[in-house]
C-alpha cells in the first residue's frame, strides 16, 4: 500500500499515512493537538482543516452542512469524492496524494494557561514533614571494614547495616543495584561509605533496593507531581532532597484527539483494535512532553527524575498504566486496583530514570479516583470536626462531604459545559477568554460589558464567564427562570440560526437557547449532587461549615453569580475557599511526605461512595435544579432578600 506524505502547517510537521488512514489519524501521529470532540465519528465538526495541496477522498457523509459542499452523487458512487472546497473534516478525509494541510486557528487547541493551586490562601496550611520523605529515597550507610574472617557477602553486610540503621529489610534488590555493588566495596577499598536508594510502595509491604552508589550521596535528585487531567495535564518539578518546587507546566492531554470526555475514550479503547495502546501512548507522550520542557528549562537531565506521583481519575489512571478500562463503564463496575502498586518508569514508557518509581494516587470507585483523593489530602478537611464539602467542578463534578470522622463522596457528571465544551464560543480560561459580563437592558437594546483574561480581545467565553453570562441574562430579563429567551422576537440582538434562537453578546460571539440549556443542566447537576449527598445523610445545607472549590474555576469565579444561578449553595461567602488545582497540590504532598501518602490511603479507606444513579433522589433534585436559581426559591434566601 502506498504511503502518502502529509505536511501539516503551520507546524511544519510531516507524517506518512496510507490511503486507509484519515487526516485525524495523521494529526494524531504528528501529535498535533486538534479539536476532535467526537473522536472521529464525523459528527461534531470540530476537526475542520484546510487542504492546501493535493487531493483527498471524503467519506460519504450525510451530516455535511453548508460550509462543506456535498460531494455530487455520481462521484459518491465511485467512492472517489473530491472535496469541492478546501475545508474538510480531518476525520472524514483520506489522502489520494501527498498533501499539505493547514490547521486553522479555530481547529487548534489554543495555548493554555496553567492552572496551579492557590498558595493556600484560604486553606489551612498543610502539614508537611520537616524534611522531605519521598517514596524513592536515599539511605546513607557506612559499612564496617572488610574482614576475611566474616563469611558474609557484600550484600548481606549491606543489609545488616541497613537494618541496623533503619530497621528496614528490602523485599527485593534490583539487578542494577547488585551490579553496582559488585563494582564497589572491594576488599581493600578504604572508603566504605555508600548510599542506597529504596522504593517504598504505600499500602503494600514491598520495599525495593533500587540503586547503590558509592559515597555519601549529596547531590540533588528530582521528582514530578502530575495532575493527569482529562483535558489538561499539569506537572510540577521538584527537587527532592530539599523539597523545593522548581517549575509547573501544563499542556493539553493528547488523548483529546480520541474524544473529549472519559466516556468517549473508554468507548474508543473498547471498540478499536489497539485502542487502549493508542490512548496510553497519547497520555504518556503528553507527560513526556512536559518532562522534556521542564527538564530543559531547568537545565537538569531527565534521568535525574526518580520519583513520580500521578493524580488522575480512574479512567486516566487506567489508561496511563495501560489497564483495560472496560469494566469502569459497565455495571457492575469494577476497577483493576483502587491502589495501583508503584511501577517503574520504563514499564509505562516515561522518559526519565528507568527505574524511577511511579505511584498513582489511590481511588475508591469507578468514577472517583486519585485526583479527588489527592485533593482531599491537600484540603486538610479530614483534620477537624467541622463539616466540609469539597467540590471539584469538572466534567465529572465530584464532591466529598465529611470531616475527620467520616467521608462520603459522589460524582454527578455535570458534563463539560463549564469547560466551554459543546458551546460554539466556549473556551478554557485561555488569554482572551471572557471571564466576566455585565449586561444591562436598555429600552431598545442590551448593554454588554465584559472583561477578558489578560485583557486580550475576546476569543470566547470561559467557565466563569459562562456563569456570569447566565446570571446576567437572567437578571437583565433576557431569559426566564428556565433559560428561555423572553425578549421580543424582533429584538436587535436576537437572531435565528438553523431554527434556533441565539443572542449576540459581543461582536460575533453568541449564545443559543440550547447552549443556555446545557449550562443550566450543568449547574443543576452540581447543585443536585450537593443536595443528594446531604439528603443521603438527612442533613441540610446549613450544616456545612466550609466549602472548598477545586478545579478549573479558581478565583476567576464570581461566587455571587454562581449562587445567583443556583450552582452553589447560598451560604455565607466566608464559608467558601478556592483551591485551584488542588489535585496537583495533593500529588506534590504525596511526593514529598510519607505521612501524606499514608493519609491518602486512610482517606481512601474511610470514604464511601454514593452511586447517584441508584434510586431517584438525584433525578428529582436535578429536575428541581433546572431553574434559576432553583424550584425551591427558599433555598436561596439571600436572593429573595436582594430582590426586596
Amino acid at each position: 500500500m502506498p504511503l502518502f506524505k502529509i505536511l501539516f502547517l503551520p507546524d511544519k510537521k510531516q507524517v506518512s499515512i496510507s490511503e486507509k488512514e484519515n487526516l485525524l489519524q495523521a494529526a494524531r501521529a504528528a501529535k498535533i493537538p486538534l479539536k476532535a470532540s467526537c473522536a472521529g465519528a464525523g459528527v461534531c465538526r470540530t476537526c475542520q482543516v484546510k487542504v492546501k495541496k493535493g487531493t483527498v477522498r471524503i467519506e460519504p457523509d450525510e451530516h455535511q452542512d453548508a460550509s462543506i459542499k456535498q460531494p455530487d452523487k455520481a462521484k459518491e458512487k465511485s467512492g472517489l469524492n473530491k472535496a469541492t472546497t478546501p475545508y474538510v473534516l480531518a476525520c472524514q478525509a483520506f489522502p489520494l496524494s501527498d498533501l499539505t494541510i493547514e490547521i486553522p486557528e479555530a481547529t487548534r487547541l489554543t495555548k493554555l494557561q496553567v492552572l496551579t493551586y492557590d498558595s493556600a490562601e484560604n486553606l489551612k496550611a498543610c502539614p508537611l514533614s520537616v524534611s522531605p520523605s519521598p517514596h524513592y529515597y536515599p539511605v546513607y550507610l557506612s559499612l564496617p571494614p572488610f574482614s576475611s574472617t566474616a563469611t558474609k557477602d557484600k550484600l548481606s553486610s549491606l543489609l545488616v547495616a541497613l537494618k541496623q540503621k533503619t530497621s528496614l529489610v528490602p523485599t527485593r534488590v534490583s539487578l542494577k543495584a547488585l551490579q553496582s555493588l559488585a563494582k564497589i566495596l572491594r576488599p581493600n577499598d578504604k572508603d566504605r561509605e555508600i548510599t542506597v536508594f529504596l522504593t517504598e510502595d504505600t499500602g503494600y509491604p514491598a520495599l525495593s533496593l533500587e540503586e547503590i552508589i558509592p559515597g555519601h550521596f549529596k547531590e540533588k535528585y528530582y521528582g514530578l507531581a502530575v495532575d493527569l487531567g482529562t483535558t489538561t495535564v499539569v506537572a510540577e518539578l521538584l527537587e527532592l532532597t530539599k523539597g523545593i518546587s522548581l517549575a509547573v507546566k501544563g499542556i493539553y492531554n493528547q488523548q483529546l484527539l480520541y474524544g473529549e470526555d472519559v466516556i468517549s475514550r473508554l468507548i474508543y479503547a473498547q471498540e478499536n483494535e489497539n485502542g487502549l495502546s493508542y490512548l496510553q501512548e497519547a497520555i504518556v507522550d503528553t507527560v513526556n512532553t512536559l518532562i522534556k520542557e521542564l527538564t530543559i528549562s531547568n537545565q537538569i537531565s531527565s534521568s535525574e527524575i526518580k520519583a513520580v506521583v500521578c493524580a488522575g481519575n480512574p479512567t486516566m489512571t487506567h489508561l496511563f498504566l495501560g489497564l483495560d478500562p472496560v469494566d469502569l463503564r459497565l455495571k457492575p463496575y469494577t476497577v483493576a486496583a483502587h491502589n495501583p502498586p508503584a511501577v517503574q518508569a520504563q514499564e509505562v514508557g516515561l522518559e526519565i530514570y528507568p527505574q524511577a518509581a511511579i505511584k498513582c494516587v489511590p481511588g475508591i470507585a469507578n468514577y472517583l479516583g486519585g485526583d479527588v483523593i489527592a485533593g482531599i489530602v491537600a484540603s486538610n478537611m479530614t483534620e477537624g470536626d467541622e463539616l466540609t464539602l469539597f467540590i471539584d467542578v469538572g466534567t465529572n463534578g465530584e464532591m466529598v462531604l465529611g470531616n475527620k470522622e467520616w467521608l462520603i463522596a459522589c460524582s454527578c457528571s455535570a458534563g463539560p459545559a463549564f469547560e466551554g465544551s459543546g458551546l460554539k464560543y466556549g473556551v478554557l480560561a485561555i488569554p482572551g477568554a471572557i471571564d466576566r459580563f455585565k449586561i444591562t437592558s436598555t429600552s431598545t437594546d442590551l448593554e454588554v460589558e465584559y472583561t477578558t483574561v489578560d485583557h486580550l480581545p475576546p476569543k470566547g467565553i470561559c467557565g466563569s464567564g459562562l456563569i456570569s453570562c447566565l446570571a446576567n441574562l437572567y437578571r437583565s430579563g433576557v431569559i426566564d427562570r428556565r433559560g428561555k429567551f423572553i425578549l421580543a422576537p424582533d429584538h436587535p440582538r436576537l437572531r435565528i440560526l438553523n431554527g434556533e434562537k441565539e443572542l449576540v453578546l459581543v461582536e460575533d460571539i453568541t449564545i443559543s437557547e440550547s447552549e443556555i440549556n446545557n449550562l443550566i443542566r450543568a449547574k443543576a447537576a452540581i447543585f443536585a449532587g450537593i443536595r443528594s449527598i446531604l439528603q443521603f445523610l438527612n442533613l441540610s445545607l446549613e450544616v456545612i461549615d466550609s466549602l472548598i472549590l477545586a478545579g478549573g474555576f479558581g478565583r476567576y469565579l464570581n461566587l455571587k453569580e454562581a449562587v445567583a444561578i443556583g450552582m452553589l449553595p447560598d451560604l455565607p461567602p466566608q464559608k467558601y475557599a478556592y483551591a485551584g488545582n488542588i489535585a496537583l497540590k495533593g500529588a506534590k504532598m504525596m511526593l514529598l511526605s510519607a505521612e501524606a501518602r499514608k493519609k491518602t490511603l486512610e482517606i481512601a479507606h474511610k470514604m464511601i461512595y454514593l452511586d447517584l444513579s441508584e434510586g431517584n433522589t438525584f433525578t428529582e433534585e436535578f429536575l428541581a435544579a433546572l431553574f434559576i436559581p432553583h424550584t425551591n426559591l427558599n433555598l436561596f434566601p439571600s436572593l429573595i432578600k436582594d430582590k426586596k
Binding site: 427562570r481 428556565r482 433546572l626 431553574f627 424550584t631
Partner: protein
C-alpha cells in the same frame, strides 16, 4: 383503653378558587387537611365532576362511550345540556377541532362555540384547547375574550405557551390550567413562572398530566399526594387545586376499549370500562384531586354517589 388520636397541625392550606357566576358559581379547594380526613382540618368543598364536551364529533371513542350521547355528538350545545342532565357539576369544552391536523379551526370560530355553549348552560365552564401549544396560545385568548366576566377555567398553559395564555386570562378574569408532565418540580416551576407574571395564584389550577389505572396512575398518585403535603406545609407555589383529565386517559386504555368478546377473561366491557374510569377518579381524589374531568355518564353518577355518601 382510650387511644390518643393523632392530629397533624398543618400550617398551610389549598387555595380556594371560584368558577362561574352566581348563583351557579362553584367553589373548589380550601382544604386544610389531607383528602377526606375531616377530623384534622377544614374541607369546605367536595371534589367536583366536569363532563367532557367536544366541539367536533370524536372519531376514536368506543361505542360504549358514544352511546349515551347518541344524537348530540357534533352539537356541543346539546351535548353540554345532556351532560348537565346526567348530573355533571360543570362542563369541560374541548376544542379538538382547533388542531392543525384536524379542522384547524380559527380562534374566532372556537371562541364562538365556547360562547354558545356557555350561553346555553350558564354553568361554570372549563375550556381546553387542542393540546397543541402554539395553537392553544392563539385560540385561548380569543376564547377568554368571548367569555369575559364568566370566570371560566382555561387550559392548557404549558411551559411553552404560558405567557400568552396567562396574559389573556389575567385581562379577561379567568382561571387557568397549568399543565406539566408528571413531576412536582415542573409543576411548581410553571406555577412560579405564571405567578411571577403577576397572575393571581388563587386562579391557577394544576394539571399534573395523570395516568389511568394500570398506566402510571401510581406516579400521579404520589405526585399529587406530595403536592397536597407541600400545600399543607405552606408551599404557596403548590397550594393550587388539582384537575385530573381522567376520561381522556381512561378511554384510551385497552381495558376500557376492548369489547367483552375481545377479552373474555376480563369480564364485561361495560362494567370494566366504567370501573376503570371510576377507580382512576376515586384514587386520584384520595390523593388530592379536586376537579375530575370524566366522559361516561355512568361513571359520573357512581362517582357522585360515592362522594355524597361520604358527606
Amino acid at each position: 383503653m382510650p387511644v390518643k388520636i393523632i392530629r397533624e397541625n398543618w400550617s398551610g392550606k389549598v387555595n380556594t378558587t371560584s368558577l362561574g357566576v352566581e348563583p351557579k358559581a362553584i367553589k373548589i379547594g380550601g382544604e386544610g387537611a389531607l383528602p377526606f380526613l375531616y377530623f384534622e382540618g377544614e374541607i369546605p368543598y367536595r371534589p367536583v365532576v366536569a363532563c367532557e364536551v367536544w366541539d367536533e364529533k370524536p372519531n376514536d371513542w368506543p361505542d360504549l362511550l358514544t352511546a349515551p350521547f347518541a344524537g348530540v355528538l357534533g352539537d356541543p350545545v346539546a351535548w353540554a345540556k345532556k351532560c348537565l342532565a346526567y348530573g355533571a357539576d360543570l362542563i369541560c369544552l374541548r376544542l379538538a377541532g382547533a388542531h392543525p391536523e384536524t379542522k384547524n379551526k380559527s380562534p374566532q370560530e372556537c371562541a364562538l362555540v365556547a360562547q354558545r355553549v356557555y350561553a346555553a348552560i350558564n354553568t361554570p365552564l372549563i375550556v381546553v384547547g387542542c393540546g397543541e401549544d402554539a395553537k392553544d396560545a392563539a385560540v385561548l385568548p380569543a376564547v377568554a375574550k368571548a367569555l369575559t366576566g364568566k370566570y371560566c377555567l382555561l387550559g392548557w398553559a404549558t411551559a411553552e405557551n404560558y405567557q400568552t395564555i396567562t396574559t389573556a386570562c389575567d385581562i379577561y378574569g379567568h382561571s387557568l390550567i397549568a399543565s406539566s408532565p408528571l413531576d412536582i418540580s415542573l409543576a411548581k416551576q410553571l406555577n412560579i413562572l405564571i405567578t411571577e407574571m403577576g397572575f393571581n395564584p388563587g386562579s391557577v389550577i394544576i394539571d399534573p398530566l395523570v395516568g389511568a389505572l394500570g398506566y402510571g396512575l401510581e406516579y400521579a398518585y404520589s405526585i399529587m399526594e406530595r403536592i397536597r403535603l407541600s400545600a399543607l406545609t405552606g408551599d404557596k407555589m403548590l397550594a393550587m387545586p388539582i384537575i385530573c383529565f381522567v376520561g381522556q386517559e381512561t378511554w384510551k386504555t385497552k381495558e376500557a376499549t376492548s369489547t367483552s368478546l375481545e377479552c373474555p377473561t376480563w369480564g364485561e366491557q361495560a362494567r370494566r370500562a366504567i370501573l376503570w374510569e371510576l377507580l382512576t377518579a376515586v384514587t386520584l381524589t384520595q390523593a388530592g384531586g379536586t376537579i375530575m374531568v370524566m366522559r361516561h355518564p355512568e361513571t359520573v353518577s357512581h362517582f357522585l354517589a360515592h362522594l355524597l355518601q361520604g358527606r
